[in-house]
Symmetry: C2
Subunit: 244 residues, 2 copies
Amino acid sequence: MAGQKIQRQTGVALWRQIADRIRTSINHGDFDESGMVPPETTLALQFGVNRHTIRSALAALAQEGIVRAVQGRGTLIERKERLSFPISKRTRFSQGIGDQVRETRSVLLGTGEEAASAELARHLRIKTGAPLVRLETLGQADHRPVSRATSWFPADRFGGIAETYRAMGSITKAFREFGVPDYVRMVTEITATHADENDLADLQLSPGAIVLITQALNTDLDNVPVQYSISRFAADRVRFTIEN
Amino acid sequence: MAGQKIQRQTGVALWRQIADRIRTSINHGDFDESGMVPPETTLALQFGVNRHTIRSALAALAQEGIVRAVQGRGTLIERKERLSFPISKRTRFSQGIGDQVRETRSVLLGTGEEAASAELARHLRIKTGAPLVRLETLGQADHRPVSRATSWFPADRFGGIAETYRAMGSITKAFREFGVPDYVRMVTEITATHADENDLADLQLSPGAIVLITQALNTDLDNVPVQYSISRFAADRVRFTIEN
DNA sequence: TATGGTTGTCTATATCAATAGACATTTAAA
DNA sequence: TTTAAATGTCTATTGATATAGACAACCATA
């Protein structure tokens, strides 16, 4: 395990720092040979903390479903994944990761109408205050939540797209119904921050977790903006790949 | 400020969660009108915590140099920034952010020779065990550390590039000396994780901070790999912009 | 079946994190 | 100069975090 030392008196409990480190090591494949996490006493020695502190960290990871402790045997690794999301002109949620999971699904969390803010209007190249359709969706891979997205569509062109999406289960298909056979991604911004309370709930994260945020504009083939979306990904479950 | 509620008993101290939130709000420009953070009593009410807890959070931000408390007046915002890094075929550290800061600098942290691991060999399309030159650099903007990069170059073609880099102060210029007038970025992978102890030291972060990690391959104009690098960015100081 | 290695549980203690309240000090404006 | 509003400092108390040690329970295997 790389970078063994941990920080004390920083407002982040030792057990949480250690849990984060072990999760990273698991995702990195450090324990692939045995399929198990090292014994608690070994970890306690490595991290220079008490065994009880290690137990708190492992309990947190067990709560996340990442490891499972078996008395007498050790602590088994249950899950280990980081989906690779290609980011390109043809970025779609389900495409590109189809070969990595058995099932992808997009769930509608909520929808609404709102007037375009100055920022949204600038991105979508419409007037401030113009009506927008807002879509909140949850992306799942093999029944595990991966991303949480808010999308805005110009309402004058895509009024009722929420219902269409609900029926089709895919934004790509809904677009087709509205006479947009294809669309491309223009600009994507990527940032990272700590998960807020909505992230924790929707993405089933533990506090202190990281979310990767992408902001993207999709345009139709005539270069007219059709969708602006902000997506929040569980950082320990995904990796972005940019192909030029 | 969005998402007011904070999580208790999660291994992350309230004061640190609140400090992170306030830092985000400052970077988001929420307090731009006044140039000040709301009064401690107001924040205590908003976050639903004791004023002393707010004071701990603000003390941490003051330590980072982000705010400065003045008795009788309030808490002033000292610094607010998130550099925008364009990611494209022409990604360079100094280019693209030149208009956002007064000075960019790249500092050599260390250098060495090593044999190519299987993974590095695959990326650079050379034989496993082939000699590599390793460069550890620190990217600074206006004297503030922004990124920490480790780069590998095939030693048979770029032996001594460390010294050239040290003399030139730029990888682009060093490449030119080795007969590589231009180079392009092939694939970039982006992940995020918590800062490790090296990040904390080199990037001057506080524990629990987030680093954005990019892995990139640069090739010359004949499509031959010349550099593979892993860069770690302080997430609260940067934003990646992808232009298609 | 006996043993070594592992996780599970309990008690006790010290330190950090958070709350609560009171009052001092400083600044800006009435 | 007075006052209101803001930060600074102090004491006290409670709960979470971390350490320490001992022993029970369980598993694989020699």
